[in-house]
Amino acid sequence: MGLFRWSQSRSLWMMHFCTGCGAVEMPPTMTSRYDMERFGIIPMATPRQADILLITGYLTVKTLKRVVRSYEQMADPKYVIGFGSCTINGGMYWDSYNTVKQLDLYIPVDLYIAGCMPRPDSIIDAFVKLREMIAKGEANGWKRYRENLEWYRTNQAKVFNVEKWSAIEP
């Protein structure tokens, strides 16, 4: 079990769900200047193969549906990083009628990166922090999601303005 957890903390495949303006900070983080592959973190094309879901920036209600769906397609253990102020409290879209203010109500966030925009340094810092959290067994958002599924489903249904909502089964 120790081997698996150690390798999990050292090999993280990331799906960057690029919404909003946060996406612009990802290319320098991935490429030569800041090179996140040295931490074993590489971008993955599909949620099925990914371990980290990185939400870069604000989410509209419409996008949140896709995010929840992508999140539920990922295999456990899975981690969510909220990127930028928008995922924490709405950021500069705090009074917008159409964006989600607090991401943690709808999917369990393991780690936030504050800032508007966070620099690649702080993104790398967050990855290192997440690595430590996984090694200690603290990053258990995926367990929280399983245990409190009803609560998350209620919140999701409320924001989507439907009676009952489930991501996988239509």
Binding site: R5, R10, D35, G40, A45, T46, R48, Q49
Partner: protein
């Protein structure tokens, strides 16, 4: 005893393939002026994938696909001489069997990924099976030149006859070897021909729906496939020698492919097959012609 030996070879080859993959990632990182992951990164990836909690299956064939691919590549290990050590099975014509066994893996992947019914997977499969028409033909034609000259179709005999360094087949058959190298690039799915698993284009193609343990199995398959495919080229063109020299040679051939991978853009599928059926085909046919004249 033989079974135990084979298991040792299997584990060794798998570890070797994973190590090659890790060093290749480091090497491409250095080419791109990055620091790159540690050389044991691919081991960590496989451990992580095998330790994933829940894995989604889309049906029986979906689950069997990676198993078929893995089985096919293990079977091909039976026929692969590792340097001067005789393979488990060798008979007249085993090179045909080896070629046939290398096709099992893509077919298994096609059957498995087909059940996922993801359009990206379907496109990937179609590209993979079409590209096979290109590289199989070229690789086979370049091997035929050697077979005609030595009058044998056994991989082990080819290794035995050609001997060590100055008598490598690479020198008399350089045209065929060159065509074979181009075919190998496609066989391994390295860059001008990486259109099967084009991650930015069709989201890693046939593997798009695979996750967790299935993906781990596919990674292991890929690791063995690296050694088997480069090993095939090494055995036909780069002579025999001890196991250590075999490892060095496969490493060199693989690193050459990775270097080319790093400086090339990607073909479209039409361009790739057209390319294969034009220049490498002419080169490999010339290689056969040279053999007949030289005889």
């Amino acid at each position: 005893m033989v079974i135990l030996e084979f298991f040792l070879v299997l584990i060794g080859i798998t570890a070797l393939g994973l190590l090659y993959g890790g060093i290749a990632r480091k090497w491409s990182a250095r080419i791109q002026r990055r620091y790159g992951p540690p050389f044991y990164q691919n081991f960590l990836d496989v451990f992580k994938l095998l330790g994933k909690k829940n894995t989604k299956s889309h049906g029986v064939m979906f689950a069997l696909g990676p198993v078929i691919a893995f089985t096919g590549i293990i079977l091909s290990l039976f026929f692969l001489p590792l340097g001067n050590s005789r393979p488990l099975l060798s008979f007249e014509g085993d090179i045909f069997v080896l070629f046939y066994l290398l096709v099992i893996a893509p077919l298994g992947m096609a059957l498995g990924a087909g059940e996922a019914a993801n359009p990206n997977a379907t496109i990937g499969i179609a590209r993979g099976l079409t590209l096979m028409l290109g590289y199989e033909l070229i690789f086979f034609l370049s091997a035929i030149a050697v077979m005609v000259k030595f009058n044998t179709a056994s991989l082990w005999k080819i290794v035995e006859i050609q001997g060590t360094f100055p008598k490598w087949n690479l020198f008399p058959f350089f045209l065929s070897a060159f065509a074979g190298l181009i075919a190998l690039q496609g066989m391994m799915g390295e860059k001008p021909f990486d259109l099967i698993v084009a991650p930015h284009e069709i989201a890693s193609g046939p593997m798009v729906e695979y996750n967790g343990k299935y993906l781990g199995l596919l990674q292991l398959y890929h690791a063995i496939a690296i050694v088997v495919e480069t090993g095939l080229f090494v055995n036909v063109f780069l002579g025999g020698g001890s196991i250590l020299t075999f490892i060095l040679k496969t490493f060199f051939v693989f690193m050459l492919a990775v270097t080319i991978d790093n400086i090339m853009p990607r073909f479209r599928i039409g361009q790739a097959v057209k390319f294969y059926w034009k220049y490498p085909l002419i080169i490999s046919l010339l290689g056969i012609l040279v053999v007949f004249i030289w005889r």
